[in-house]
Symmetry: C2
Subunit: 210 residues, 2 copies
């Protein structure tokens, strides 16, 4: 077989990653052989082993290519709670629109066993969680300073609560393809989650954006 150009090689590499995600989400990470992935990508295992050390390395690449779903803007339009809500809603929308991201997270949350080398991905996931915690804490702190929050609310605890809420929402949302349990009300849950933090009943239906 003719040797491929660098661009073509990079293309194959990307194709292998994409196909991996697909097969992983069908059969689970451990149950898929590199042979299946290679077949799906129209290559042989030789190609897979050329681009990746082993299956764990490949899975890492899938994770890396997907990146984080949730990112908060520490500064920007609207008050801190509005920015928080927006971040959560944007993440949800990406989950709905981006089929590849959806598949990636389905694999990471439901179709993978975090053991041995694979623990690296879980650690990365938890690292993302820690980063979110920092950002959310910052936003809650800002909101507290702006007197948007009840006095007794501790920003760091609130951030942890939001992290847990989001993590659980993601996991349940992915396992609820009929939408009966969670998907239909996911956005409402996010809105209400943020709203239930606003101090007192001062704010009623006003959610104006600046």
């Amino acid at each position: 077989m003719a040797r491929k150009t660098k661009a073509e090689a990079e293309q194959t590499r990307h194709r292998i990653i994409t196909c991996s995600r697909q097969v992983f989400s069908r059969a689970g990470v451990t149950n898929t052989s590199l042979e299946e992935i290679a077949h799906e990508a129209g290559v042989t295992r030789g190609a897979v082993y050329w681009h990746f050390k082993n299956k764990a390395d490949l899975f890492l690449a899938v994770r890396a290519e997907t990146g984080r779903l949730l990112k908060l803007e520490r500064t920007g339009p609207g008050d801190a709670l509005q920015r928080l809500e927006r971040g959560l809603l944007v993440a949800l929308r990406r989950l709905e629109d981006d089929a590849e991201a959806r598949a990636s997270y389905e694999v990471m949350l439901w179709k993978c066993e975090y053991v041995g080398e694979f623990s690296a991905v879980r650690d990365d996931l938890m690292g993302a969680g820690a980063a979110f915690l920092a950002d959310a804490s910052h936003l809650y702190q800002e909101a507290k300073t702006a007197k948007l929050l009840p006095l007794w609310l501790e920003p760091e605890v609130a951030a942890l609560e939001t992290l847990c809420f989001y993590a659980g929402l993601l996991k349940i949302w992915l396992a609820d393809p009929t939408g009966k349990l969670c998907r239909s009300q996911a956005a409402a849950a996010i809105t209400q989650h943020v709203r239930s933090r606003r101090a007192g009943t001062l704010r009623s239906a006003s959610a104006k954006r600046s």
Copy 2:
């Protein structure tokens, strides 16, 4: 080898389940062979195949033996929100105290790929989630009737939010053995989660139990 009495047989069956949980939590479900489980339990694969159809069946038994962590009391002492909080805290405490339950949930949430026959366990998990949703909705409805909640809060959405929060807390808690990220503040997060629902700032530090 001498045939065992019924009681002894039941004992081996239970031992196989317990050892499965242990090995699963070490190596992940897919990566553990029935041979390993049998060895750990001091029997051969013959015994495992006698008691269980296959690995999925065995995993189902582990799940069944563990049962649910979270149960809400629709009636009982305290108002609806207090009962909700108590349910959440009791579940957290069991997670801390009951090593077997902890291992089971670690396996179910981090060490298993829900594919093929294993999907049954995920469906069961989601069924438990749906049951929780029903109970929590009931409690929130009761709380709303008792004017404990802000007027705009919808009981069903609030229940979903609590379900997500709890699911995420469970998952993150299990992946945070150092305690830095989540474990140290888990109870506080639960308390604050429930508290942030109470209407206005009417209730400050009073959390009296009747």
